[in-house]
Subunit: 183 residues, 2 copies
């Protein structure tokens, strides 16, 4: 059984290499709109969606994230990024930064998947990026939070990087052994 | 900007009244497949998808959940369910029960939204239901966990109820004030 939406879900894959070109504003708006159409517990909608296309801001956060990784005890993650081109954000021209209220990880996950599916439906690549929290955790964190417009009671939820893929990705083979029916 | 997938996302709404008819097995399989196509942190896929269509099991969990609610200090939630027909699971013929590993709420959220979107694309209603944890928390919890196949290290993540809607729902108006662009 297949339809257009199921095809988009099946073909979506996490993109870790972007060509840097900014997607059309109309596409970014459509994706942000899909984000806020997500369901949430008790319809509280405990999120804010900050669509960052400010190249300088993204590059500063990327550099700070890489610096933090370079000083980590375990250098494996840092080396992996260096080998992939040295960019923690993979040269993505756009970050959908999801701010959340405390204890709403699940809602943030739901929103992030709406963003990923909406992006895929528009021919864009995306990757849900928990690592994007790093720059907010270091000494420059306060400045970054201010610039991104965090207000009292709001915290980093998750980020979704998006843009035009520089390479054609292949989805993971789904592990259907994780499904069982109780009939 | 609109396409078929964005339309499905826009028109999805949480269904709280089912006609009880079991959807075609092919549809349930397609939804479960969409679930395991979700992205996850480090591709760990920290989930199991239990598709429960065992009517007796669903009804027993529903009755136990209602019993627990009826004994809660605050009766408001219980009264709301009573006024809606007395069924915590809204007469849904199918529950996608997502088991998770500890500290993977966000991954569970991502999976649950794939299920909700896939169901909507197939003309089915669904509702993400955190309340479905209740029966697993009471005195019958051990028995329910055993029956649902929880194994060591796995816990309740979230559930998505699905089926044919008994009523036509209307999506929430999306709150676009929660979106801002940083350009």
């Amino acid at each position: 059984m297949m339809n257009e939406t199921l095809r988009v879900i099946a073909e979506r894959c996490s993109c870790r290499d972007y060509d840097g070109r900014l997607p059309d504003r109309e596409k970014l708006e459509a994706i942000a709109r899909a984000a806020v159409q997500a369901p949430s517990a008790m319809n509280r909608q405990p999120w804010q969606i900050v669509v960052i296309t400010d190249k300088a801001f993204i590059e500063e956060m990327d550099a700070e994230g890489m610096r933090i990784l370079s000083e980590a005890g375990d250098k494996a993650v840092y080396e992996r990024f260096v080998n992939r081109g040295g960019k923690m954000y993979y040269n993505a021209p756009c970050m959908f930064l999801i701010l959340k209220q405390p204890d709403t990880e699940m809602d943030a996950g739901i929103v992030s998947e709406n963003i990923a599916i909406a992006a895929a439906s528009l021919g864009l690549g995306s990757v849900i990026c928990g690592m994007a929290e790093l720059p907010f955790m270091g000494p420059k964190g306060d400045g970054f939070r201010k610039r991104a417009g965090f207000s009292e009671g709001w915290e980093f939820g998750i980020a979704v990087l998006a843009g035009h893929p520089a390479v054609t990705g292949t989805p993971h083979e789904p592990d259907t052994s994780k499904i069982r029916f109780l009939e």
